[in-house]
């Protein structure tokens, strides 16, 4: 899931970003409303996590303006403001959920999963292609009664590819989908990730599902059913 996290305190932003990324999400972390606004126009997100107290534009104002502009992306308010009035204000501004800091990360991750389920694009907690299952909540891959947990990086790539089967995905597309905003992938990063995923799949006995289209990119192509 692609998440936009707006938090002005780097001390809090960094671990949150890390924890979310570890659970297989691709997180763009920004420190102010203006950047968030720009990114919202540039990219599509599955979830917005907003801090209330931000420099210049508050999280509430940001949320209100997104809602006014017709943005339906699920939004989670993450703030130190804890009174009932604050919560009412936050939810009325258009947030779908409200969490008071300091928040237990396990709770935050559970709420993020809950918000994903609420999305109109949700198709279940599991992606399936032939006998291959990818469990989105546990990051586990299952193939013919064998299963194991993928690393978050493998999981992100596999999820992306499983959502776009039989399509040629260019290096640039993969980079844009998997790398968070502001982080520059090295020139051979995509190649390295593909190699690692192929290796992980091979351990389950899945071979040659990821085809290389020379000079262009890759294609996730499960064998035709017998």
């Amino acid at each position: 899931m692609r998440i936009l996290l707006v938090e002005d305190d780097p001390e809090q932003l960094e671990p949150l970003q890390m924890a979310l990324a570890r659970s297989g999400h691709i997180v763009d972390g920004v420190a102010d409303g203006a950047t968030a606004r720009w990114l919202m126009e540039e990219k599509e997100y599955d979830l917005l996590i907003l801090d209330w107290m931000l420099p210049e534009e508050s999280g509430i104002e940001l949320c209100q303006s997104f809602r006014a502009a017709g943005v339906a992306t699920p939004t989670l308010m993450l703030t130190a403001k804890d009174t009932i009035d604050d919560k009412v204000t936050g939810l009325d501004a258009g947030a779908d959920d409200y969490l008071v800091k300091p928040v237990d990360l396990t709770e935050l991750l559970a709420r993020v999963r809950a918000l994903r389920r609420r999305s109109p694009l949700w198709t279940g907690d599991c992606l399936k292609l032939l006998d291959l299952y990818l469990h989105l909540d546990t990051m586990c891959i299952e193939w013919r009664k064998k299963s194991f947990k993928l690393s978050s990086k493998d999981f992100q790539l596999l999820e992306y590819m499983m959502r776009h089967p039989q399509k040629i995905l260019t290096h640039a597309q993969i980079e844009q989908a998997l790398w968070s905003w502001g982080s520059e992938p090295e020139s051979n990063a995509v190649v390295a990730r593909i190699r690692r995923l192929r290796q992980s799949l091979r351990e389950l006995g899945i071979e040659n599902w990821i085809k290389t289209v020379y000079g262009v990119g890759y294609c996730f192509e499960p064998p035709k059913s017998p």
Binding site: D9, E11, Q12, A19, R22, A80, D82, P102
Partner: protein, 477 residues
């Protein structure tokens, strides 16, 4: 000395002082009006007396003339035996009783004069009687003799007349005395009149002076009072502004404190938890690191609870505002709390039972705060009840009071500690508190909430047997 008296005046309540200020000119006005009315009345009385005396004088003159007329009439008739001389006599005879009657009316207020008038009346009657007798005699003589030429002897006639004269003189003297007396009364009255005129002037001057002085005093007192009230208002406004400022400062403080205290806690907690996640992936055994990070996570969580409790206390220090209170059904409120706490109790192998009634029990309350107070009691009960224990939540309703009771079969509280358990940060026993992870604010918060609702909270306990906490709230009719 006057300053001291002024200070005494200043101590009096504003209502009384305002009343006195208004009373001064009003009293002056009414006193002057009253004295003028009284003077006017007595002057008018004097005037009446003067008028009466004048009329009495006129009337006595008329009476006297009439008397003289009778005498001359009879005398003329005696001398001439001519009927025309009798005309004045006859007319006077009708005038005299009229005149006497008039006089009687005029002097009815003066007993002395009345007495004299009585005497005059007898004398006049006698005089008239004598004259009538003489006249009758004359007429008899005239009828018997039938001779007009045979006149009565003049000498004899004079004798007759002289006889009546004495009577006449006595009447005259009596009338004179009467008139003189009336003159005296008039004189007294006139003197009286003069005196009253002087008094009027004096009263006028005095009331004008007191009135003016009273008005000046009233104005001075009023101005002073106004100054004082203005000063009071200004000082009230200042106090109000200060209070508002203090309140907004407190508001800002709690908002800022909320952010400032929570932000580092949030950072510590997330970092520690991310550290734990990283460790999960580590292949080598680093269980000691795991323990450390676990400790950081737990400490941060309890620190966060403490910050939350302190902020709650700071925000709700003062009494609840009336607007935030609404009519709440306690049965519904408790029913909504029970499942959550049943789960919590079950996780600690404790049985939670609730004895609630079916019919609604209404109280005026802030539902969120009331829920917090009851939750704190339930949380305490869970914390201090060992496994296999029981917690019973009861709701009773009697004497216009709602009683919410939380009973546990926990470790109990020693009698010497029981009176302190509602104090902030009070710890019954250091080790116990550490083991159960509480800061000693929960009961204080519960007490503060209940007291803010006009209720009370009590605790009874027996060490080793358990404790019972009761919340009493006034029933909403």
């Amino acid at each position: 000395m006057p300053k001291m008296q002024f200070d005494k005046w200043k101590v009096l309540p504003v209502r009384l002082r305002g009343g006195i200020i208004i009373a001064i000119p009003v009293i002056c006005l009414f006193t002057s009006l009253g004295s003028f009315a009284w003077l006017k009345a007595s002057l008018e009385e004097d005037e009446t007396v003067v008028q009466q005396t004048k009329m009495v004088k006129l009337e006595t003159k008329r009476l006297l003339t009439a008397l003289v007329d009778t005498e001359t009439g009879v005398r003329g008739y005696g001398l001439t035996h001519r009927e025309e001389f009798l005309a004045p006599f006859n007319s006077s005879r009708t005038v005299i009783p009229e005149s006497l009657k008039q006089l009687e009316k005029l002097v009815q207020d003066y007993p002395q004069q009345k007495q004299i008038l009585k005497e005059i009346r007898t004398k006049v009657d006698q005089h008239l009687k004598i004259l009538q007798q003489k006249l009758n005699l004359q007429q008899e003589l005239k009828r018997i003799q039938g001779q007009e030429e045979r006149m009565v002897n003049t000498a004899l006639l004079y004798d007759w007349l002289e006889e009546g004269k004495e009577q006449m003189n006595a009447t005259r003297v009596a009338i004179d005395k009467f008139t003189q007396k009336q003159e005296e009364i008039l004189e007294v009255r006139q003197q009286h009149h003069l005196l009253y005129r002087q008094i009027t002037w004096i009263v006028l001057c005095v009331s004008a002076t007191t009135g003016s002085l009273g008005a000046i005093l009233a104005i001075i007192l009023f101005l002073q009072l106004e100054r004082e009230l203005t000063a009071r208002e200004t000082s009230l406004q200042n106090t109000n502004q200060e209070l508002e400022l203090a309140y907004s400062q407190l508001d800002r403080f709690t908002a800022n404190a909320s952010h400032e205290l929570r932000a580092p806690l949030a950072a510590v907690l997330s970092n520690a938890q991310v550290g734990l996640m990283e460790l999960e992936d580590a292949t080598v055994d680093k269980s000691f690191l795991h323990q450390r990070l676990d400790k950081i996570v737990n400490l941060t969580k309890s620190m966060s609870t403490l910050v939350g409790d302190l902020l709650f206390l700071a925000r709700n220090e003062s009494l609840l505002s009336i607007e935030s209170l609404e009519v709440v059904n306690v049965v519904d409120l408790l029913r909504s709390l029970v499942p959550e706490w049943k789960t919590q109790a079950r996780s600690q192998h404790i049985t939670l039972t609730a004895h609630l009634m079916a019919e609604p029990v209404l109280v005026k309350a802030d539902p969120n705060l009331l829920r917090q107070a009851i939750a704190n009691l339930l949380s305490n009960a869970c914390r201090y009840t060992p496994a296999n224990g029981n917690i019973i939540l009861r709701l009773n309703c009697e004497n216009q009071q709602v009683e919410i009771q939380v009973e546990d079969t926990g470790i109990g509280i020693a009698p010497e500690s029981l009176s302190h358990i509602f104090e902030r940060f009070y710890r019954v026993n250091q080790t116990r508190t550490k083991a159960t992870g509480s800061f000693g604010l929960g009961l204080n918060i519960a007490q503060q909430i209940v007291q803010a609702h006009g209720g009370k909270i009590t605790a009874t306990s027996k060490v080793g047997e358990g404790s019972t906490f009761r919340i009493w709230l006034p029933l909403e009719k």
